[in-house]
């Protein structure tokens, strides 16, 4: 296994001479987990095997960072053109108390009118915690004085690119905000590793 990873890293590096990746190359297998989707159905991470995934942690009440990231992701989807069909987006809630499947459905349909590409995931707080840990995503409730607003959630805002085998390949920081270049990375990776089909 170690040998394989070594060869793999070598492969990425040799390719990067020809193509300069915009994101930060990464290599980590994600263990299977299950959460609840926007239709209230239990869904497993492994159900998405065979697709390239863009994973983002956020919450529907989020005023600045999440809308910025989701708009960027929806621009990436547009930029992907013919490659769009190999990609799905997972929006994983870090505010499961307020993010019911219904709230998630409204939220994701705003960024994906077709309903085909973006999946919203929520679940029990402890399940979300475990998932976030795998991605090394952080989040923390921040109380707001006004009772009706209740709280905001500080959270990490990376976009993770996961390959069809469930391995994180690339990470995008909030300042990697050029959708064209993210889409170009995805196209290059699909060319390198196949469509997953």
């Amino acid at each position: 296994m170690k040998k394989l990873i070594f060869i793999f890293v070598l492969l990425i590096f040799s390719f990067s001479y020809a193509y300069q990746f915009y994101g930060i190359p990464y290599l980590q297998q994600v263990n299977d987990f299950s959460l609840i989707n926007q239709d209230g159905k239990k869904i497993k991470f492994s159900d998405f095997k065979g697709k390239y995934l863009l994973v983002f942690f956020g919450y529907t009440y989020c005023p600045d960072v999440c809308p910025t990231s989701m708009l960027r992701i929806s621009d990436v989807l547009d930029e992907l053109g013919d490659y769009k069909k190999y990609v799905k987006v997972l929006f994983i809630s870090v505010d499961p108390e307020r993010d019911t499947p219904k709230a998630l459905k409204k939220f994701i349909s705003f960024y994906d009118k077709t309903g085909k590409y973006i999946v919203g995931l929520t679940g029990k707080p402890e399940d979300i915690k475990k998932v976030a840990k795998q991605f090394r995503a952080f989040y923390q409730k921040v109380p707001v004085k006004n009772k009706e607003v209740g709280y905001l959630v500080d959270h990490s805002a990376y976009i993770y690119l996961v390959d069809p085998k469930g391995i994180i390949r690339m990470i995008y920081r909030p300042d990697n905000d050029d959708p064209k270049r993210i889409a170009e990375d995805i196209k290059q990776i699909i060319k390198m590793f196949g469509t997953g089909e």
């Binding site: 529907t60 989020c62 005023p63 600045d64 809308p67 409204k106 939220f107 705003f110 707001v144 990490s156």
Partner: protein
């Protein structure tokens, strides 16, 4: 005497317009109807010789409006409350996504893309400036 009054009046007009604050390209981010929070962005231009300060912001569409700054700390995006915002003379301050913004919390109703929202900005010197900010998806 008449001339003197006119002179005085123009003086007052100059005083009133002396603290010239201009709000450029204001916009409110369109958010999903389930969302209770959004943000206002704009560029505040101070054309006067004196520093001015944005002290507070009000709108009818939300319960709370605050001046915020999004900052990144070790990959975590945090929003910090800013008490007031100084606009130095002959300069501009940009409020944009991922940085300074006017945080609009507890929306009383969903906002629609394309609608214009009335916002009141209160400045220390220039007083109340009323603007219409379009709701945009960007």
């Amino acid at each position: 005497m008449k001339k003197f009054i006119i002179f005085l009046l123009t003086g007052f007009i100059f005083l009133a317009y002396g603290n010239e604050i201009i709000i450029k390209d204001p916009w409110i981010r369109a958010v999903p109807p389930s969302s209770k929070n959004t943000a206002l962005f704009m560029t505040i231009v101070n054309k006067s010789d004196k520093q001015d300060t944005l002290i507070s912001v009000k709108t009818d569409i939300a319960k709370i409006v605050m001046i915020h700054k999004t900052v990144e700390e070790n990959g975590i995006m945090k929003m910090k409350h800013v008490d007031s915002l100084s606009i130095p003379p002959h300069s501009e301050v940009k409020l944009k996504p991922g940085g300074l913004h006017i945080m609009i919390m507890g929306l009383k109703r969903p906002i629609k893309e394309g609608e214009e929202v009335k916002i009141n900005l209160f400045f220390k010197n220039s007083g109340n400036i009323e603007i219409l900010a379009p709701v945009l998806r960007r």
